[in-house]
Amino acid sequence: MSTAANAGFSLMANLPALQVVVPMIAAPICTFLRFRNGPWAFALLVSAATFWISVNLLMQVLGSGDISYEMGGWPPPFGIEYRVDTINAFVLLIVSGVSLITLPYALRSVEREVPRDKHHLFYAAWLLCLCGMLGITITGDAFNIFVFLEISSLSTYMLLASGRDPRALTAAFQYLVLGTLGATFILIGVGLLYIMTGTLNIIDLAERLGPVSDTTSVRAAAAFLTVGIALKFALFPAHFWLPNGYAYSPSAVGVFLSATATKVSIYVLLRFQFTIFGDIPAFAELDFATLLLPFAIMAFLVGSTVAIFQTDLKRLLAWSSIAQIGYMVAGIGLGGVDGLTAGIVHLFNHAVTKAALFMAAGAIFLRVGSMHIDKLAGIGKTMPFTTLAFVLAGLSLIGVPTTVGFISKWYLILAALQHGVTGYAIAALVLASSLLAVIYVWRIVEVAYFREPTANREVTEAPLSMLLPLWALTIGCFYFGLETGYSVDIARAAAQSLLGVTP
C-alpha cells in the first residue's frame, strides 16, 4: 500500500487501488458461496461498493484535479501508477454503474439461462470482468492495460459461453480468436514502445517518445495498437464476433457487455491516440484517428442497414451496436473539442440506451423463450411495460430530441459541419443512418403492437426485478437527454483535457 497507508490506512486516499482490488479479491471468494442466490447477492454488494468508489473518485477529480496513485508506494515511472483524470473517472463510473444496475436484473435471467451448479462461477467471472475493465481504465501503465485487458477478455469468454445455447460456444470461440489477435497486437505495440523509450508509464512514454517519434518502430507501434484496439471494440470490418456473442449469451451478459466492454476499448484508443501520440508532430500528417473515420462511417451505415434485415431481436440490437460504435469513432475521428465531446458523451449515452434495450429484449426472452421477431407478435399487449420501455429506448437509439441519442447526434453533426464539404456529407450520412434506425425500431413496434398474439397468449409481464432496472435506464434516456449538465459537461471537460486545451 502507499506511503499514506503506512502512516495509517486512509480509505479515501486509497480509493484508486480499492477500485480494482475490491472486485479482484471478491471474485475468488464468490466461488465459495455455493448456496442459493449467495453469489448473486455478494456480487451485487461488491458492485455497489465499486460504484460508490467510482462516484467518489469522480468527485475528487472534478473537485481537486487529477489523482496520481503509486501502487505499493513505488514512485512512477518505476512502479505502477494509477492515474485518474476526468475521462477515465467518467468511464469508471459508466462501467461500475452499469454493473450495479444490471445485477438486480441478472438474478432472474441467470436463474433461467445458466445451469444452477455454475452460478458461483458465473458471478465470479462477472466480478473478474468488472475488475479487468476497471483496471484497464484506471491504470496509468501501458503494460498494465494489457494485463487487465487479458483478465477482462478471459472472463468475457467465460461469460459469453456460460449460457445453455450451444451457438454461444462458437461465438465465444470466434471472440477468443479475434480477441487474442487484438491483445497480441496491443502487446506488440506496447513492446515496441518499451524498446524505443524504456518506459511503460503512459505520462513518461508521452514525454520520451518525442525524440524517437519519427522512426519506423514507433509508427509500427501506433499501427499495431490502433488495429489491436479496433479489433477489441468491434470496429467494422472486425465486427463479426459481436452479433453472435451478444445474441446467444445469457441476456444479462449482453446487457453488461454491450454497455461497457466496447466503451472501455474506445477509452483505451483515446488514451493512446491523445495522451501518448497526441503531441507528436510526426503524427500530425498521419493521424490515426482520421484514418479510422472511413471505417466508422462504414460501421454505422453497414451496421444500421444489416440491423434492418435481422430476424432475431438480440442480433438486431447487436448490429445496431456496431453502428453506434461507428458514431463514437466518427466523433473521435472528426476531432476537435466538439468531435471528442460527441464521441465521449456517446459512450455514456449509448451505454444507457443500449443497456435498456438489451434489458427489454432479455425480459421478453425470459417470458417468450425466443428472440425471433415473428414470435414477438402482440407482445405490446401481453408485456405492456417492457414493450413501452423498449419503444422509448428505441426512440433514443434513433436520436429523437429529448433523448440522450439526440444529444450525441447533435454534437456529432456540429463537429462534422466544421469540416467543410466532407463534413456536410458526413452529417448527411449520420442522418441517413438515423433514418435506417427508424426502420429497424419500427419493425419491432409493428410486430409488437399490431400483430395479434399467436402462440404466446399466456405470456405475462416481466418480473419486477427486471422492470425496475429497465425503467430506471429508460427514464435515464430522457433525464440525461434534458438535463445534460452531468454527461455533456464531463465529456467536454474530458475532451479538453485530452486535447490539452484549457477551458
Binding site: 426512440l395 444529444i407 447533435w410 442522418l431 427508424v438 437527454g481 434534458l482
Partner: protein
C-alpha cells in the same frame, strides 16, 4: 395565477386528462366525462392567456437547458396564441363528436383513442407556444408519434400501410431535412430563438438562403407542400374524428404554423422579400394549391377528396408567408383559423354520413341530403366557407391573400387564387347538389325517411358550421390581433 403558470398548465392539463382517461378506461361514461372536462378546462386555461397577448405581452417560460444556449422554452406570441386557441377550442367540439362517432361505429380500443388524442393536443399546444426551433421540433416529433396510434387505430392491413406512409414521410423529412436545417441555422447564427424580424438577416444570402428555406419547407412535412403530401391521404384511414381535428386542424395546421413561424421569426420578412432566391416558394405553393385541387376533383372517396382539398388550402397559408408582405402573412395566419372551422365541419359531415349510412364514396351519395338534411346543409356551409363566399369566414383570408400578392408584385397569384376558388366550387359543390337534388336510389316517389347521425355528432356539426359564420364577423379582430407579428419588434 401568473401567466407563466397558465402556459405550463396548457401543456399539463391534457396530460393530466390522459392519466384520468387511462384510469377511468373501464367505465366509458366516466372516461368521456373526463375527456370533456379536460378539454373544457384546457380551453378556458388557454383563452385566459389571450388578453395579455392582445395587450402586447410576450410571456416566456424556460423548462430545461438541454445544451448550452439551447433551451426548452415557451414564448407566447399572437400567431401561437391563435393556433393554441383554435386547437383547444375545437378539441371540446371534437370530443362531443367523437363520443357520437366512436359509439355509433362501435369502435374498439376507445381508451387508447382518447388517451392519444389528449397527448396530441398537448403536443399541438407545445408547438404553438414553442419559443425556439428546438422546442418546436421536439413537440413536432411528439405530435407525429402520438398521432401514429390514431392513424392505425383500426389495425387492419390498410391502416398499417397508411400508418407506415404517415410515419415514414413525416419522420424522414423531419430528421432528414428539418433537423439539418435547424443545425445549419445554429451554425450560422448561434441561436435558435424565434426573434421578431428574424435571426438570419445578413447571415445567409443567395443560393444558400434558397436552399436553407427548401430544407425547412420540405422538412416540415406536415405542411404538405408537394411532393411531400402523400402522408395526408394515407392518414385518411384513421377514424373520422382523427381526420377532422388532427388532419384538418392540429397536425396540418402545426405544419403551416411552423412555416409561418420560420419565415417570420427566423428568416424575417425583410430577408424573404428582398432575397429573390427564396421566391421559388411562391411558385411551389401556387403549383401545389392548383394541382391538389385538380387531384381532388378526381377522388371519389369523400375523405380523400377532402384530404386533397386540405393540401390545397395549406398552400394558401404557405403562399401568404412566402409573399412576405404584411397582408400576405396576416392573410395566411387568418386562413389557419378560417380553414380550420370550415374543414372540420366538412370532415364531421363525412364521418356522420359514414356512421349513419356507411357510405364513403361520393358516387354513392345520391340523395343523402334528403336522408340527412341537417348534415348536408352544414356540409354546404362548410364548403362555401372553404370556397370563400361571404358571409362565411373563408372569404376574408382569401381576400387578404390577394391583397398581399398585389403588394408583393405577384399579380399572377391573384389569377391562381381565383382559379383555385373555381376549382373548389367544382369539387365541393357537387356533393350537396347530388345530395339534395337527386332522390336516393330505391326510395320511390314518397317522402324520404330521415335518418340522421347520432345526436352528439349533429351538435358538433352545427357548432362548427355556426363558427364559420361567426368568424366572418370576427375577421377584423383576428386581423388586428395578428398584424403585430409582421412589424419590427413584434408589437411588444
Amino acid at each position: 395565477m401568473s401567466i407563466e403558470t397558465h402556459i405550463q398548465l396548457a401543456l399539463l392539463i391534457p396530460i393530466i386528462g390522459l392519466v384520468g382517461i387511462v384510469l377511468t378506461g373501464r367505465i366509458p361514461n366516466l372516461r368521456e366525462a373526463v375527456t370533456l372536462i379536460t378539454a373544457t378546462a384546457n380551453a378556458i386555461n388557454v383563452w385566459s392567456i389571450f388578453p395579455a397577448i392582445q395587450s402586447g405581452a410576450r410571456p416566456s417560460v424556460t423548462l430545461f437547458e438541454m445544451l448550452p444556449g439551447l433551451t426548452v422554452n415557451f414564448t407566447v406570441e399572437p400567431l401561437g396564441m391563435m393556433f393554441a386557441a383554435i386547437a383547444s377550442t375545437l378539441w371540446i367540439v371534437n370530443s362531443i363528436y367523437s363520443i357520437g362517432y366512436m359509439r355509433g361505429n362501435k369502435e374498439t380500443d376507445q381508451t387508447r383513442f382518447y388517451a392519444c388524442f389528449a397527448l396530441s393536443i398537448s403536443a399541438a399546444i407545445g408547438i404553438a407556444f414553442a419559443g425556439n426551433l428546438l422546442t418546436l421540433f421536439i413537440f413536432y416529433e411528439i405530435l407525429t408519434l402520438s398521432t401514429y396510434p390514431l392513424v392505425t387505430h383500426k389495425g387492419t392491413e390498410e391502416a398499417k400501410r397508411g400508418g407506415r406512409t404517415y410515419l415514414g414521410i413525416l419522420i424522414a423529412t423531419s430528421i432528414g431535412l428539418q433537423l439539418p436545417a435547424i443545425i445549419w441555422t445554429w451554425n450560422l447564427t448561434g441561436t435558435l430563438d424565434f426573434v421578431p424580424g428574424g435571426t438570419l438577416t445578413g447571415k445567409v444570402q443567395g443560393l444558400s438562403a434558397g436552399l436553407l428555406l427548401a430544407l425547412y419547407m420540405y422538412g416540415v412535412g406536415k405542411a404538405a407542400l408537394m411532393p411531400i403530401h402523400k402522408w395526408l391521404p394515407a392518414a385518411m384511414v384513421a377514424p373520422t374524428p382523427v381526420s377532422a381535428l388532427l388532419h384538418a386542424v392540429a397536425v396540418v395546421k402545426a405544419g403551416v404554423f411552423t412555416v409561418i413561424k420560420i419565415i417570420v421569426y427566423v428568416f424575417g420578412l425583410e430577408l424573404i422579400t428582398t432575397e429573390s432566391a427564396t421566391n421559388w416558394l411562391i411558385y411551389a405553393a401556387a403549383i401545389t394549391l392548383t394541382l391538389a385541387s385538380l387531384i381532388a376533383m378526381n377522388q371519389d372517396n369523400l375523405k380523400r377528396r377532402l384530404a386533397y382539398s386540405t393540401i390545397s388550402q395549406l398552400s394558401y397559408v404557405i403562399l401568404g408567408a412566402a409573399l412576405g408582405t404584411a397582408m400576405g402573412v396576416v392573410g395566411g395566419g387568418m386562413h389557419i383559423a378560417m380553414h380550420a372551422a370550415g374543414k372540420i365541419t366538412l370532415f364531421f359531415c363525412a364521418g356522420a354520413i359514414y356512421v349513419a349510412l356507411h357510405k364513403t364514396e361520393i358516387s354513392d351519395m345520391k340523395g343523402v341530403g334528403r336522408i340527412m338534411p341537417v348534415t348536408m346543409f352544414c356540409f354546404m356551409i362548410g364548403a362555401l366557407s372553404v370556397i370563400g363566399i361571404p358571409p362565411l369566414g373563408g372569404s376574408w383570408s382569401k381576400f387578404l391573400l390577394m391583397v398581399g400578392a398585389a403588394d408583393a408584385g405577384f399579380q399572377f397569384i391573384i389569377g391562381v387564387l381565383i382559379l383555385s376558388s373555381l376549382l373548389n366550387v367544382a369539387y365541393l359543390m357537387p356533393i350537396p347538389l347530388r345530395g339534395f337534388m337527386l332522390r336516393p336510389p330505391g326510395a320511390g316517389d314518397g317522402p324520404v325517411k330521415v335518418q340522421e347521425a347520432p345526436l352528439a355528432c349533429l351538435i358538433a356539426i352545427c357548432i362548427t358550421a355556426t363558427l364559420t359564420f361567426v368568424l366572418f364577423f370576427l375577421a377584423q379582430d383576428i386581423f388586428d390581433f395578428l398584424l403585430p407579428i409582421t412589424v419590427a419588434g413584434g408589437g411588444q
